[in-house]
Symmetry: C2
Subunit: 136 residues, 2 copies
DNA sequence: TTGTACTGTAATAAAAATAATTACAGAATG
DNA sequence: CATTCTGTAATTATTTTTATTACAGTACAA
C-alpha cells in the first residue's frame, strides 16, 4: 500500500458516523478533509461498492453510512482502498537465468501476502466506531 | 511503505548469502536483479549503514554480508528501507476548524504506528537465512 | 607506475503513480 | 423549471520513484 486513500476513506467514514444519519454532501466532506469534492465523490463511489455508504442524488442529496460503524472494521476499510501489494512490487523483472532471480518473485509474493494478512488482522481489531469514538 | 526497495534490498542480501563470503560486484548483483548497477550501489550504501554488508573498493572489490544471515531479520531489512509511514500520509492537511479534521492526523498516526509495529514483528519472525533457504 | 576494474556519490532525466481540476449530464426537490 | 446535488470521464498537474550518466577515488597486479 502506498496511498493517501486510506486516510481519506477513514476521514469520510468518521464524518458520516458523527453525522448520525444526516446526509452529508461531498462539498461538506471535502471541506473537512481539505480536498476537491470530485475526489470525495470518487472515494464515495468506491465505499458504496463495498456497501459502507449510500448516497442520494439530486437536491438535498448526500451520503450516509449504509451499515453501523460497529460493523465496519478498519481492516475492511484498508481492503477497500488497497490496490498494490503491501510492500510494492510494481514491476520487478529479475533475471530468470539466475537461480535467485528466477524464484524471488514467488517467494516475495508469499511473504507479502502473509504479511498483509497479519496487517489486516491487526487493523480488523478496531471498528470504525472505535476509531470514531476517539474524536470526543 | 511503498517502494520496491524492500525487494531490491532482500534480493541483494539473498545473493550475498548464497555467495558465502565471496565478494560480489554491483554489476553482478545488478545483473540478477535486472536494474542499474548504480542503483545497486546506492542500496548497498544504505545496507552498509545498517551494518548488514561490507564493501571493498577497487579492483576485485565487491560486497559481502557483514554479519550472519541468521542475525538479520526481515523486519530489520524492512526498517532499513522504510521511509514513509506504512499507509502513506504524504501530505494531509485537513481543516483545523472541523473537530474531526483537527484531530485526525494524530489518531491516524497512532494507528499507523501501532500497525507498523505489528507488521515489523511479523516480518521479524523470519531471518534472511530462512528466506534464503527457500532458494534450493 | 600505470592500466584496469572496481566503488561511491552526485546530478540529471525519465517514468510512473497519485492527486487535483474541470466539465457536464442526470437526478431529486421545492 | 430553476436549483442543488451526485456520478463520472477526461485532462492536467504534482509528486514520488526509478533510471541513467558521469566521474573522482581506491586497490590490485603486471
Amino acid at each position: 500500500m502506498n496511498n493517501g486513500r486510506f486516510a481519506i476513506a477513514l476521514h469520510i467514514l468518521t464524518l458520516l458516523d458523527k453525522a448520525k444519519g444526516e446526509l452529508l454532501s461531498s462539498a461538506y466532506l471535502a471541506g473537512s478533509i481539505n480536498i476537491n469534492s470530485a475526489m470525495v465523490r470518487k472515494e464515495l463511489s468506491n465505499l458504496r461498492e463495498y456497501g459502507f455508504v449510500e448516497s442520494k442524488e439530486g437536491k438535498n442529496g448526500g451520503s450516509i453510512l449504509a451499515i453501523s460503524a460497529n460493523e465496519i472494521t478498519l481492516g475492511e476499510v484498508y481492503q477497500s482502498v488497497r490496490q498494490l501489494s503491501l510492500l510494492g512490487n510494481q514491476k520487478n523483472t529479475p533475471n530468470p537465468k539466475c537461480p535467485v532471480g528466477k524464484n524471488i518473485n514467488e517467494h516475495l509474493n508469499n511473504l507479502y501476502n502473509d504479511t498483509e494478512l497479519v496487517l489486516i488482522e491487526q487493523l480488523s481489531k478496531q471498528s470504525l466506531a472505535d476509531f470514531s469514538k476517539k474524536f470526543g
